[in-house]
């Protein structure tokens, strides 16, 4: 069992979630059928609903960013770590 680290960057109009190349390789090794993306941007027209981890939006991006659904993740991954380099904050979430 293991952890996957996702980088979160808050921008003016939404969030960008990204994976480092080594993390993408790691996911591909763990799930050979997966197609992890480099980054996914979730845009908002308004600033409302911007509270990332309150909204549960992180779970919505698993399939698009990681290329793996939640059930598959649960079997092989302990934690998903969301790291925000702007704040230095790391949030650990169970998949």
């Amino acid at each position: 069992m293991s952890a996957i680290r996702i980088i979160v960057y808050k921008e003016m109009d939404g969030f960008t979630f990204s994976l480092l190349p080594s993390v993408r390789d790691y996911i591909k090794n763990l799930f050979p059928e997966s197609h992890p993306a480099a980054r996914v941007h979730i845009g908002y027209d308004t600033a409302s609903g911007f509270d990332l981890l309150q909204s549960g939006i992180e779970r919505q991006i698993y399939p698009t960013l990681l290329g793996v659904d939640k059930e598959q993740l649960k079997k092989q991954v302990d934690n998903i770590e969301f790291i925000n380099y702007q704040t230095g904050k790391i949030e650990k979430v169970n998949p």
Partner: protein
């Protein structure tokens, strides 16, 4: 070498890289206000924009090689936003430019996080590149694959 000359060297490096993009068919722009990005590189047809950070250095001659030193702010490297950033490193040697090393931000961050390249000093990372015949290394990691790697900037026919 004076601090003033470094400004001239840096600007010359920017213009050399801008020239290279133009000859490849990409449009280029310098932001009016310096917000950290050196160059915007744009594919006019569809508006695809990539941000480029140019890092320029003079070189120090070694026995069978030469080296160049670059400094990048850590915060800048860690800021991964929706439009990708490319770091381009060039050095001046024998009155010519070296071939540029073109490294996507995520690759460089990965090299830093995974392979501990460079040395961190306060909020900056100092990178020492060693150039030998057809090979470039940084902190023991082979960076040769990044030499003139224009994969993400293919030639655009006009």
């Amino acid at each position: 070498m004076t601090k003033k000359f470094n400004h001239y060297l840096g600007k010359a490096g920017h213009l050399a890289i801008m020239s290279e993009f133009l000859i490849r068919g990409w449009n280029v722009a310098i932001p009016e206000v310096d917000i950290g990005d050196d160059i915007f590189v744009v594919e006019d047809e569809n508006g695809t924009m990539k941000r480029v950070q140019v890092k320029t250095s003079s070189t120090t001659i070694r026995k069978n090689s030469y080296s160049a030193q670059y400094q990048i702010p850590l915060k800048q490297l860690q800021k991964i936003s929706q439009s990708p950033v490319y770091y381009i490193f060039i050095a001046r040697k024998d009155d010519t430019w070296t071939k540029p090393l073109i490294i996507p931000q995520v690759q460089l961050l990965d090299e830093f996080a995974k392979n501990n390249i460079g040395t961190q000093h306060k909020d900056y990372i100092n990178l020492y590149f060693s150039y030998s015949e057809n090979k470039v290394e940084c902190s023991g990691q082979d960076f040769t694959k990044y030499i003139a790697d224009y994969t993400d900037f293919p030639v655009i026919e006009h």
